[in-house]
């Protein structure tokens, strides 16, 4: 179904700025603007992010939540669904890709930007607590920053670890069901604590 209440001009601009803020300050928890859509999935926030970023020039894939989400994104963005290994954007539900994430595009040394951005639908993101606690450092972080997430499996984080090879790698966005997001781009050094 088409979401007429999503304003492609102004809502996507506001969401993008939140995202830019989050990507420039890895691990910093940013609350998305209060924009609502009638959504086919439990958590609408990852969809808002993708409705902001996708169009017919890029492709996406959705892991583990079946057709309604994919159809929603196709209808609302004009973007193409593609195989995971060719996807510019990957949306992961359920906290784990079960190892599939290791096949995502990480770019080439000449064009490291030609790599996937991965959005994880999580239960919650917080400063101090969560199932997985990470300590982050690198660009965008003054010294060190901690972030905790619930609803993502530690093995998933470890899988991402194994393929990050800066400047090659994946850029991660965690999105929780209270409208909070946090980013971990490939430039961030992270360790599980």
């Amino acid at each position: 179904m088409r979401n007429w209440e999503f304003d492609v001009v102004f809502d996507s601009q506001r969401i993008f700025r939140s995202l830019l803020d989050a990507m420039a300050n890895p691990g910093c928890i940013i609350t998305l603007p209060d924009i609502r859509i009638n959504n086919p999935a439990a958590n609408m926030y990852p969809l808002l992010l993708l409705m902001t970023l996708l169009d017919h020039e890029v492709s996406f894939s959705v892991l583990d939540n079946g057709t309604p989400v994919t159809e929603h994104l196709k209808t609302n963005t004009g973007s193409k669904e593609s195989k995971l290994e060719n996807s510019d954007f990957i949306l992961v539900y359920g906290g784990s890709s079960h190892g599939l994430i290791r096949r995502a595009m990480v770019g080439t040394l000449e064009y490291p930007d030609e790599s996937a951005t991965v959005i994880y639908d999580t239960d919650s993101i917080g400063d101090i607590d969560g199932d997985v606690l990470l300590e982050l450092s690198g660009p965008g972080i003054a010294d060190k920053r901690r972030i905790g997430t619930s609803g993502i499996e530690q093995t998933e984080i470890e899988d991402v670890f194994t393929i990050q090879d800066y400047p090659l790698g994946l850029d991660l966005i965690f999105s929780d069901n209270a409208g909070r997001i946090a980013c971990i781009p490939r430039s961030t050094t992270m360790k599980v604590i």
Partner: protein
């Protein structure tokens, strides 16, 4: 079925016949995606489509594409050219953005949320809530030593910057100093060599671990790159031949009396002697008014 014309956002209520912020929504999306990648790989030049803008190439078409793709209704915009808000090109760019978006504009650095700049970083310390957008003529720091894009891209891929080190070394042998004026090459995050745009060397140390997000865009050369806040930005230098900023020792701005700012040298009509004024006009005015900046 998706209605593309609706997704493109062509029927917004900005200036008649134009979308809010001039660019169509697909173009903004592409820019936004590329900006995020640029932020994720500090100092790496992300290629993008780049549209022709209602400004000549070389006059800020990259900067304005970034500004227009990030700007929203609640932003406050400042535009400077060589430090001045009143330079004709700055006025032209500010008018264009203001007309196409209706956003507020200011010359007050501290009030701006987005600052688009050509060749300067404002003197006043910037905060984490501001974004600095640079207009870039030459995104490729290696272009001075290698004309081919295919070759320079490979050099970045292999982190092969020996040619640039050799260039600096030869400069020292020939002139006794590194003679690069503006556009001083910097290593970002210890990995990518970056052209900081033709800012004076004075401004280069101010990029290092700055609290601000810096976005750089070259419209003609179709490249976007970024320095996120708190990122290592190191000008190339040798242990015995250090990077040097411009020397204004003993000189003060004759308007506000500052001795700690980048100064424009002006030849006095009557005497032919040099006189000095702050390059950052808005800062200079604040100091003249006695404001604490």
């Amino acid at each position: 079925m998706t209605e593309l014309s609706t997704l493109a956002g062509t029927d917004s209520e900005a200036v008649e016949g134009y979308n809010f912020a001039f660019l169509d929504e697909f173009t903004k999306r592409e820019l936004r995606r590329k900006i995020l990648k640029a932020v994720a790989i500090p100092g790496y030049q992300v290629p993008f489509g780049s549209r022709e803008m209602p400004l000549a190439k070389g006059w800020g078409t990259g900067g304005i594409q970034v500004t227009l793709s990030i700007i929203g209704k609640s932003d406050v915009l400042k535009v400077i050219d060589q430090g001045s808000d009143e330079s004709v090109n700055a006025v032209n760019i500010r008018n264009l953005v203001s007309r196409m978006t209706g956003v507020k504009t200011t010359s007050d650095t501290s009030r701006a949320t987005i600052i688009q700049t050509r060749h300067r970083i404002p003197e006043e310390p910037l905060t984490k809530d501001q974004i600095l957008v640079f207009q870039v003529p030459f995104p490729e720091p290696l272009r001075t030593i290698e004309p081919s894009e295919q070759v320079t891209r490979r050099m970045h891929a292999e982190q092969d910057y020996s040619g640039m080190w050799l260039h600096l070394y030869e400069d020292i042998v020939k002139h006794g100093k590194i003679t690069i004026g503006a556009r001083y090459p910097c290593m970002v995050n210890g990995r990518h060599l970056m052209d900081p745009s033709p800012i004076p060397r004075w401004d280069v140390p101010r990029l290092h671990k700055s609290p601000v997000l810096h976005l750089f865009c070259a419209g003609r050369e179709k490249r976007i790159y970024a320095i996120p806040p708190h990122t290592l930005v190191e000008p190339l230098e040798f242990e015995d031949y250090r990077f040097e900023t411009e020397d204004f020792c003993g000189k003060v701005c004759e308007r506000c009396g500052s001795s700690d700012t980048f100064l424009d040298e002006i030849i006095d009509d009557a005497t032919g002697n040099p006189r000095y004024l702050c390059s950052d006009t808005s800062f200079c005015e604040k100091r003249q008014r006695g404001e604490d900046v």
